[in-house]
Symmetry: D2
Subunit: 343 residues, 4 copies
């Protein structure tokens, strides 16, 4: 039984961590912090958790958090880089669901996130927490940077193609669609039901913060810098990401289906669908799973990959727990074996 | 480990049984039937179950089903009453999620369901599966009739008032709102997204089949026939029932909050919210839970009870499993302890 | 051609006024104000209006507004009562879509709205803008107080019963359901898609500001104070109100259908549906219409009325324009003749 | 005043024609047909039309239809090609909202639609009803084939680039997202609210019937055959198409914004948004409008065009009426000038 702390527990990734950890037999959540909701019971804010937790939100405090075995940061960028170094120094292992430690090039990070990075040393040793790529390194990591939601869906879809050099690395296109929970629980007009339901729109076409993260991951996989056009869309639903990925095959190639199946044969949380399937985001609702399928329409040289996840689970809280399981030697699927909720 | 069969596995209560039973440590689903989808893999129809089941739909067959310890009927009315008697005779315990065994007065049943009842003997011994009322009888029942979704939410909300004779029994009003999954997975125009989203409507105001069921239950609790106006509404969401219940207090009474809390103090799946709370259906999404609150607006003599459930869980599949747990001596909460999914 | 000003044009009733007035042949919108968005083009904020307006938001200013023939206030309570008196003095006719002038008893108003009323003189001469009750008085009014959305649906549904003394006036129940746009365009967490979609909840059961307004209107119609239980619900859709109204018939009465049809025979914007119909909110989406039906379930003594409107049209902007048409001698249906948008 | 007939009036394009034509001053709808609903009043099926039409559905009959000046076919493919020739022969002008006359290569048509074309002569003279390309030919056409919804959004977005030869014509990608009303009012399980809301999925990736139609239009514009990858997605909303279009610029080019603005400067129903805008489908909800914006992310050689329409209006009924206006010499915007409904 390990002790868990959560910094920034009032957002959607926070409550999702709590929901998933409630059924994890190896952990006990001891601390959950929120500056704005200090003293409030967790289940007053999130009545779905009534009967599951007796906790109150407390102000984040390193002394208290240092008594945990692992601390999750479910915070906006800029928070973890300030508190994590001291925790790691005191022997706590840290899993950041935010963006502070995802990008290795800190100048690039600063450009996209608009602030100086205050913790370059820890950033240097942080491990990018995509188990399907970095499982071994995650095992011993002190600091794990969980991938963003778009980057998870996009990388898992492109990896088999890029790792094998099958597509023109200069011309990747990711047309990605996210449910509104990806925008968080902040009180923004754009996330109101009356603004975001019954409508579809692209946003950030000129540039989105997940672009450099995806490029970094795919460039590593490709062994050289990739070119990527990345267009996110706000989709009128609560949860789910659907990535539609386009690449140009260098050579006419058969066996894409087998390639994908082999790549992920031993992955518990990547499911390559039967040929011709169209994965639906609802098939992974609430579940730590990425479902993929691959097409070559009209047997032409364009390859299309469909990749779906629940942005709050495999795209955030579930993947964080998967990382924790790896780090602490638990069964990687512990607490994450439930099926998606359909309908 | 008991063997489970499911008759009528293609509907929403069927897939919900499968989702919930996938994590139940004491059961193994051995048979799942569907006339229309014979031979289809369960996870081809419901991709959320990929990795959880290896089953195919088979044509319902008493010989095969008789090898199960318990058989769930997730079928429209008229099916269970034909197959259940033979199964019960062969020692199988049966839990019907449909309507065949809910109403004791079979003439009344015939009037509302438009057919003769073919199994009056079994109907006579069937136990109405509302554990909060009938737990003891359920334990030894061969045949359990699971309550309908509206009746579960409505009865749990009215029971403390009616059992104690606090409200005028002739003038109960239940204004109930259901998500569209209550209408099932049948291809009806009225359940299309384009017909039922972005709209609200009442239906069956002149008479709905759940009316006599609720009246039966509340009349038993009251010790005399109750009068009930029951108005169901179709609400633009997938899951959830919100029952808003109105009664006229016979005497000015304090302590309604305490009354409700005491009535359900030992019930694992009924949660009386703090005074002044407004339960949301999403707080029970996917969970086997009924959340209640009680009000006396303006300290007048009208009492208002708010009662929410997930129609597919506490209103169907979850309650069926709760009944199974009681019948087989498992912990009543086995397989049903997870929190609702929010957001 | 009259000159129109709109104070508070950034909210949903503001944009709805603009949408509807764009096709009104007798008006020209000359001024639209917003303190927060000064200088912004109206169609930058609301791209659906591109090509329809050339206006920018300006800071509200009495001198400018005084050049209009009519000024609409689409503002939170507390704004109109400060600016309207001076405008009325200068000969401008004012239509308030907010709550400042709806309640005649200003002490009661203060109790529910939490502030002193600063304009009692104008409040005394304000006409309650429900044309189906006050058409004659509206014609010459300098100041019209448009009814709230819930009050419109509730009063139109109860009026035929209450005016004729057919139901027990002490025991009216209004179970009302509103789309989320009723909560306005403010950045509130509770109105986020992720908080309000896929869920149903009641709110304000202990007391809602529309309760005294409805009681005032129905008491006038009844000729004595009515007793009302009023329970509003937040419904996961953008637009629409569905009021389900309950009354106890004093005597067994036939001919309720005829009574309703006669009451509204000459009303262009109240449609009594054929007996047995269940009006859907989507049938009035975008249209200035109230659709009603009336039931006596099981021929018992409870009468149920179903009443639907679009909260932004017949519940706000459309009704305001209907009032304007009456005040300026235009055809009452001018600019309001389009059908609801379905699907 | 011209006489209008509508064949196949029970679907969503049928009711949308009725909604829009109700306010058109130059037309009178005289006949509306439906085999399945013969004798039913139009406003019994579509209560939003109560007060607007007195019509009943009749069985389609050439004699009756021949008394109309124009007949719209709002029918599945295969219907118009059987009835239209005789109507055209009798001097009726026909506008087909279905697919029968869209594709010039009838062998190709047969391959995609799975039946022989029974009216090749009329197909040869049919004019493709995209006014932004074919306005002059439409004016005198006897037979107009209205473009499909996806093809309208896709072609309008690509046209300025393709007509000017700016992008690699072999590598067009259209990632298109449609609301569920695009699937029609048929009782299909896939279109149920419980199947299609709260989820996103691609479909028909291997091949969709709108692919050859788009290729035909863009090939004509390019002056040579284009290569197109076309991936449609089902989006959880009622109305709206969002096309996200990708092309590879042959040369680094400035002035794409100006190019788009000039191309559509005189088009009443194409709105090029200011640079940097992201059009939302809700900005065109219910309106006959296509909103476009164009991007060159990171100033790279990939151009991204965003194109939104309401699939039932500019993608079907509205465009059909626009064609009718052109054919009969009415103002092209008659009956189509209203703003989109937002929120």
């Amino acid at each position: 039984m390990i002790k868990v702390g959560i910094v920034g527990g009032t957002g959607y990734t926070g409550v999702e961590l709590l929901r998933l950890l409630a059924n994890h037999p190896e952990v006990s959540v001891e601390v959950i912090t929120s500056r704005s909701e200090e003293g409030m019971r967790v289940d007053d804010m999130y009545p779905n958790l009534r009967g599951h937790y007796d906790l109150q939100f407390t102000v984040p405090n390193v002394t208290t958090l240092a008594q945990c075995d692992v601390v999750f940061f479910a915070t906006p960028h800029g928070v973890a880089m300030k508190m994590a170094p001291e925790l790691v120094e005191q022997g706590v292992r840290v899993i950041d669901l935010g963006a502070d430690f995802r990008i290795k090039d800190l100048e690039l990070w600063s450009k996209w996130y608009g602030m100086e990075h205050t913790s370059p040393a820890l950033a240097a040793q942080a491990v990018y927490g995509l188990p399907e790529v970095n499982r071994v390194a995650i095992k011993d990591a002190r600091m794990v940077a969980c991938p963003g939601c778009y980057p998870t869906a996009t990388q898992l879809g492109f990896l088999p193609l890029v790792e094998n050099g099958l597509i023109d690395h200069r011309r990747l296109i990711a047309d990605v669609k996210s449910g509104v929970s990806g925008a968080g629980r902040g009180a923004n007009v754009g996330s109101l039901l009356c603004e975001s339901s019954e409508s579809m729109k692209a946003y950030g076409v000129a540039g989105h913060r997940h672009l450099p993260e995806v490029k970094q991951g795919l460039s590593e996989a490709a062994g050289r810098p990739v070119g990527l056009t990345f267009v996110p869309h706000l989709t009128p639903m609560i949860r789910g990401i659907h990535a539609t990925l386009y690449g140009i095959l260098k050579d006419p190639v058969d066996g894409l289906q087998a390639l994908f199946e082999e790549r992920y044969a031993n992955e518990p949380f990547v499911d390559v669908m039967p040929a011709g399937s169209h994965p639906e985001t609802r098939s992974v609702k609430g579940a730590n799973m990425c479902r993929l399928s691959v097409f070559r329409p009209q047997n032409d040289d364009t390859v299309v990959v469909l990749s779906v996840i629940d942005n709050l689970v495999k795209g955030a809280a579930g993947q964080a727990i998967q990382n924790m399981n790896i780090m602490f030697g638990f069964d990687e699927t512990e607490g994450l074996r439930h099926a998606g909720m359909l309908p």
